[in-house]
């Protein structure tokens, strides 16, 4: 009875185990598969962006595991990333030879990363003794932090011209910051930069020429100062040389004689100017000189011959005559001048009187014309006075006729006026209606124009947007293979979908198995209780059934033990798998290789310290 039962139980246990194993295997395989695919993608993206930054990554490196053994590459890539994210760190991309410097570099890199907001565990070991997973995390973080294409041009100067302009702008800003001062207030300031420090003071240098004249040669040999002597102070030496050269190149525009003439003229002018205030005195002095000279000269030359005396006498006579003439002429001149003045006065008086007379004349003529008009009117009145009454009558009649005429004309005017006024009113009304219509139309036109303007503006804006967008499109890099990316993304999505389906299938399977297990355990329980009861009832009477009951009890306990064992084995298998996983993850961190490197570095460091201590000892000794 219980053989099939036990058999069934064993089968069930076997089945259970196989299902669990199957399930575990599929999940594990699936997990590993997806993990590998994902990592590959991530690595591809990381390496691609690193290459874009300008890292020199070899073609043979396709994933980050290639970085593991290459510390230089890791450091270079991180430094370049950091440089772009936060320019001005000033780290070198080359790994230093010295071990201490290496550690320092690693520590600074780690610090920079954590300053940027990296939350994971990071230290110098991340860069120097790298594990694939850590590196991946760090690079993913850094590449996410890289500035996007759109804000790149803002941070980077475009060309040399822009750089130059920038430097000019800074220089000008500096100069603008300096307060304004007139140029003579400061000789050193920024604004005064460019002013010649040494004034251009020159001396006309003289350098001996090839000339055969004896006097010149004598001068050159004996008296000419040497060039350093000619120049009094050193700063004026160069200017003197320059002006000497310029003089040699550009000859004088005037001849020397002209120059001398001009100089003499200036001199004479100056002398006369100096003597100007005493002009009359000079004349007098001349005359006195003329008179005194002859008197003194004879005294001096008294010892001379008589002939000269006679000649002198003659000259004296002549002089006296001339003096007399001059006096006469002077007197005449004075009298003439007086006459002139008198005559001029007379002329002035006469002209004033003429103007007076002309004004009088004009006034009187005006009066005359007025009087003549009055005279005409008066003559008419006297004519009419001769037969007054008749004339009055005539006048009254004439007045009457004129009044009647006026009334007639008034009536006629009224007749004409009324229809005209009516017409005028009608026309005015018509006009006003027309005007209002035209006003309306004008308003319409204005509205339309405004609309047009708005539309034009809109159009212009759109055009601008369009052109901007076109420029942006042109700016965008055309090499990005967007389609490849999308395809990959689609593939990944498809994969994920497939995997989800598989997972779902496995889940359904497990659920079914669970259900089966439950029903089986239920049936087992029930059948056990039935069997138990049956055998227990028989056991009181039958010895064999008592034995059977005992056996059943032992069988039941054994089986439950077996089930427990199976469950335990499952748990241990799971544990084993977990441990294997852990081993794998540890293996990926390639601790062994890192350890080797660390020991090598330690050795190097020890060596370096030993060298340094040796140097120190040498120095102290």
């Amino acid at each position: 009875m219980f053989v099939p039962f036990t058999h069934g139980q064993v089968r069930f246990v076997q089945f259970n185990l196989s299902v669990i194993r199957y399930y575990n295997c599929t999940v594990e395989r699936f997990r590993i598969f997806t993990f590998l695919r994902m990592m590959e993608e991530v690595d591809n993206i990381i390496i691609h962006s690193l290459r874009q930054i300008g890292c020199d990554i070899g073609e043979n490196i396709t994933n980050l595991s290639g970085f593991n053994t290459n510390t230089e590459l890791v450091v270079e890539a991180t430094v370049k990333c950091l440089d772009i994210i936060k320019p001005g760190l000033g780290l070198s991309t080359v790994l230093p030879v010295n071990m201490a410097a290496r550690f320092r570099l690693g520590a600074t890199l780690a610090q920079a990363c954590s300053e940027l907001g990296y939350k994971g565990d990071i230290g110098y070991q991340t860069f120097l003794y790298s594990s694939e997973g850590d590196l991946r995390k760090v690079f993913m973080f850094l590449i996410e932090k890289l500035p996007k294409e759109s804000d790149k041009p803002l941070s980077e100067p475009v060309s040399n011209v822009a750089l130059l302009e920038k430097s000019i702008a800074t220089a000008i800003a500096q100069s603008l910051a300096a307060p304004w001062l007139p140029h003579y207030c400061h000789t050193k300031g920024f604004r005064n930069r460019g002013r010649a420090r040494i004034p251009y003071k020159f001396v006309n240098l003289e350098i001996p020429k090839m000339e055969s004249k004896e006097e010149y040669q004598d001068y050159c040999i004996h008296y000419m100062q040497s060039v350093p002597e000619q120049v009094q102070n050193e700063p004026s030496f160069l200017p003197s040389l320059i002006s000497y050269n310029a003089r040699a190149l550009h000859s004088h525009s005037m001849s020397i004689l002209d120059q001398i003439n001009w100089l003499n003229k200036q001199y004479c002018d100056k002398m006369t100017e100096a003597n100007m205030p005493g002009d009359v005195n000079v004349l007098n002095r001349d005359s006195t000189k003329n008179t005194t000279l002859p008197s003194t000269q004879p005294q001096i030359k008294d010892n001379g011959t008589r002939e000269t005396k006679i000649v002198d006498q003659k000259i004296l006579d002549k002089m006296e005559k001339q003096d007399l003439q001059i006096e006469k002429i002077k007197v005449e001149c004075d009298s003439l001048r007086n006459d002139m003045e008198k005559l001029q006065d007379v002329i002035k008086n006469l002209t004033t009187s003429v103007t007076q007379v002309t004004t009088n004349y004009q006034n009187e003529e005006k009066e005359l014309t007025i009087n003549e008009e009055q005279k005409k009117i008066k003559a008419r009145i006297y004519d009419l006075f001769q037969d007054g009454e008749e004339n009055i009558k005539k006048l009254e009649a004439a007045i009457e006729t004129t009044t009647s005429k006026l009334i007639n004309l008034g009536n006629q005017w009224e007749k004409h006026r009324v229809p005209l006024i009516q017409k005028y009113r009608q026309e005015r009304e018509k006009h006003s209606t027309k005007a209002s219509a035209s006003q309306k139309k004008l308003d319409d036109i204005k509205l339309l124009k405004e609309k047009e303007r708005e539309l034009q503006e809109e159009c212009r804006n759109k055009d601008q947007q369009y052109s901007q967008l076109v420029i942006e499109v042109q700016k965008l890099p055309k090499e990005v293979n967007r389609s490849a990316y999308t395809q990959r993304i689609l593939e990944i999505i498809n994969n994920i979908r497939k995997q989800r389906d598989e997972i779902n299938k496995v889940l359904v399977d497990t659920r079914e198995i669970q259900k089966e297990i439950n029903t089986l355990t239920g049936r087992l329980e029930r059948s056990f209780t039935v069997a138990d009861e049956l055998i227990f009832r028989d056991a009181r009477t039958n010895e064999a059934s008592r034995k059977a009951y005992k056996l059943l009890a032992t069988l039941h306990s054994d089986c439950s033990e077996l089930v427990n064992l199976v469950e335990e084995t499952g748990a241990t298998i799971r544990e084993i798998r977990d441990l294997e996983e852990q081993i794998d993850s540890e293996a990926t961190k390639n601790v062994g290789a890192n350890l080797e490197r660390i020991t090598a570095d330690l050795k190097q460091m020890k060596q370096e310290t030993a060298e340094l201590t040796a140097q120190l000892q040498n120095k102290t000794s």
Partner: protein, 185 residues
């Protein structure tokens, strides 16, 4: 006074002619703006008192400064010249002959400075105006030109700013003046 000065000049005998020549040239040097004669330089060779030296020096320099003496002819020489002994006259004349051009240049410069302000030096700086109170961005080069002028007894800087057109007109006018001077000759 004049007679006294001539007397001092008479101190130059036949054997002292080279000292006279040296003094003459030194005086010309001074007029030309170089280091001139000093009493210390001539005291050993001439054996005279300071007063005598001063008077002689004054006479010679007034003679040399007189523009009429540049004609190098006996008739046009100033009056003081004729009162000197013939030998000294000869020496003065020969000195003038040698140094005529330099003296003329120096006297011209002096005369010009006396009459008007004369440009003796210039300096310039180029500035780029980046903006003004009215225009935010404007790139106009401006030349700041300093003309250093000297008068009889003062010296000043005449400075002005010129833009490109103004500088062109300024240069054209200057060139026109030079051309006119050349044509007049």
């Amino acid at each position: 006074m004049e007679t006294a000065q001539t007397l001092y000049l008479n101190l130059f005998g036949e054997d002292k002619i080279h000292v006279l020549k040296e003094l003459l040239h030194a005086c010309v040097d001074e007029i030309c703006g170089r280091p001139g004669p000093t009493y210390h330089k001539f005291v050993n060779s001439m054996d005279w008192s300071k007063e005598e030296y001063e008077e002689t020096y004054k006479l010679i320099s007034t003679l040399l400064r007189h523009p009429a003496s540049l004609y190098l002819t006996e008739e046009k020489m100033p009056q003081e010249y004729h009162e000197l002994p013939e030998q000294i006259q000869q020496n003065i004349l020969s000195c003038l002959k040698v140094r005529r051009e330099q003296l003329t240049d120096a006297l011209l410069m002096e005369c010009s400075k006396e009459k008007h302000e004369t440009v003796i030096d210039f300096d310039w700086r180029l500035k780029l105006v980046m903006g003004s109170s009215k225009l935010a961005s404007l790139r106009e080069p401006l030349l700041q030109l300093d003309l250093i002028l000297e008068n009889k007894n003062s010296k000043r800087i005449l400075d002005f700013e010129l833009n490109k057109d103004e500088l062109d007109t300024f240069i054209n006018i200057m060139e026109g003046i030079v051309l006119e001077c050349k044509q007049n000759n």
